[in-house]
Amino acid sequence: MTTNAEANGTVDPGAERAAAIKAFQRRDKWRRRLPLLPALLFIIVVTQVPFLFNIWFSLLDWKIVPPRGPDFVGLENFIEGYSNQFFLNAVTISVVMTTSAVLLSLLVGTGLALLLDRQFFGRGIARTLLITPFLIMPVVAGLVWKNNMFSSNFGVLNALLEAIGLDSVAFVERWPMWSIVVVLVWQWSPFMMLIVLAGLAGQPTDILEAARVDRASSRGIFTQITLPLLRPYLELGIVLGAIYLLQVFDQIEVMTGGGPGSTNVPYFVYQRSIGGGWDFGQASAYAIIVVIASIIIATFALRVLSSLFQRDEAV
């Protein structure tokens, strides 16, 4: 700014003014940002600093039972962890558990949403009741299902089985992962239902009306109009559900307490660290592998979200 003025040998009042405005704007920007700084610092301290610690820990050989280390070992924890059979088992469980729980709850949720998307008496109450499972704490849901539904001593399911003359079945012990999936589907179907319901409410009525005037069958309307229009919402449900269900811990802890049939990756990381393994280095390495996997899924998720909003803007 001064270069111009010096070159001309005169001071341009316009340029000076512009510079003052610029400086003021810059100060003003910072004045506006200032109140945000504590929150920003707070977020950095509580989210990013622990993560940096986590990365550092993952490079150490550090156990507290028996006390050992910390010694720097580089990437050894990652190399060992990557090929550990029990970690791979946990990955398999995570993938199967998440996929099946997401898809099943999407299916159930869509069904419920279609039923709710019509006028009938008591619709509000029905909707509220259907949402309730999603509002129940995961720990409570797990305990209630384990003891009041699945248990062979007190469970409703076994009481029904015995009532029709069948032997009781120890569901949770026999099928640990599928028992957990049932609880997850019960809890997450309402979430999917809400998303799909929003999609159904956003359907343009004129197209549906036109289809009806053209005497399209209900099935045809559903498969050729409703479903394609719902697609972004279903995708959103899948992505959000996958992100949340990948982190399932509570239900596993209260229902099975881990084990070869139900230890998913988060539970495995917990077991390797403060849950009895006390191997902080190794557990940190596993945690970082999970973070990387989650980031990949989350990136995918954000892409879907943005495409959804673009479509909304276009409409």
Partner: protein, 457 residues
Amino acid sequence: MWSNRVSRSRRTKTGVFALSIALAASTALAGSAVAQDEKTIYVSVVGNPQMEDIAQLTPELFTADTGINVEYTILEEQTLREIVTRDVGAGGEQFDVVMIGMFEAPQFGRNGWLADLNEFAADDADYAVDDLIPAVRDGLTFDGSLYAAPFYAESSFVMYRQDLLDEAGLTMPAAPTWDELAEVARAMDSDDIAGICLRGKPGWGDLGAAFTTVLNTYGGTWWLAGEDDTIGAAQIDQPEFKEALDFYVSLVNDAGEDDAANASFNECLNLYLEGEVAMWYDATVAASLLEANDSPVKGLNGYALAPTKVTDTSGWLWSWALAIPENAADKDAAWEYVSWATGPDYFAQAAEALDGGWARVPPGTRQSLYDTPEYQEAAAAFAQPTVDAMLAAPINNPGVDPRPGLPGVQFVGVPQFQDVGTRCTEEFSAAIAGNKSVDDALANCQLIASEVEGESW
């Protein structure tokens, strides 16, 4: 079920912890006007019946006397271990007194995590430290320092319904072999009643404890002793180990309780009290609950020594004991509590206050209890079998091969066993539930146990 009350959830734990802080804060505020020196100590205990008793009796019998508030955190065994190890080992400083067992006490003491209680006991004439039963005291001692004061102590033995066996015309030898026991269990098993209750819940202190006594007497072991205090080769792939696990799994499947893969001490106790099992192989401390005044099976039971195969004796030795972490804020107040809870006068106080009476007091820790006429009368059925079992426990020579670590029967006295035992019993429990074969469970366990070969302890 008892386990329901003691939820395993992390969320609940933090909830309980937060609540106890809130309660402590409010009582401290309320009390500050009245008593200036009112203190609060935080104690974590296992949710077994005798511990729940003392938690209930504390305000009346301890706080009223000393002015020290005690905030209990009552947890399931496996959860307690995690929390206590984290708290004591990593310097969490949540608790002034923690409940640990014979596995942890010498190891934690060796690590310098616990206060030496001999120093406190020496200044406390009422505590009568020499009254403690020697085997129990030794098990909680490392290098001459007592690191935990025994709250109760136990061996393992067989409890059975004498009335039902008589009805069926079966007899139980006083010192049975596992084959004899299995025969009786299979004969007793019917649609109405299970032949035997055996632990099947994952956890080295749950299924791991009961199974390891079987393993010992079958001549198997977890690891050989390595050179220079290291862990030697893992032995899970040996035929003795497979034989022991095959036997255990098939016995549970043929004649065991429902939901066996989810059953441990408290679950079996409930089943036995409700008359749903005819026999039960577990801790001797259970007898004090079966014979208590409020027990529905009082006077109906017989007791036999822990069953054997190739060794002469096989019962375990265990004590739940109270320890004071080295980093506890107020060790004197903590000792005052420990001294009361594990001291010689607690028995009479508890016997008077509890519905179960004398039979229900925590057994196995002090000679003076066994010299008390009231106890001799109330515990006539099981006092002698308990002492016999504890004396018979092969603490220094539990199996056939020498093994690594500090002494221990139902566990291997190396810190690594906590993790390996728990992960392996998850595999074994899955085999009990029928989710995988015994061979697969053993193969995985061998992998797990091999990870720590060559490590020092």
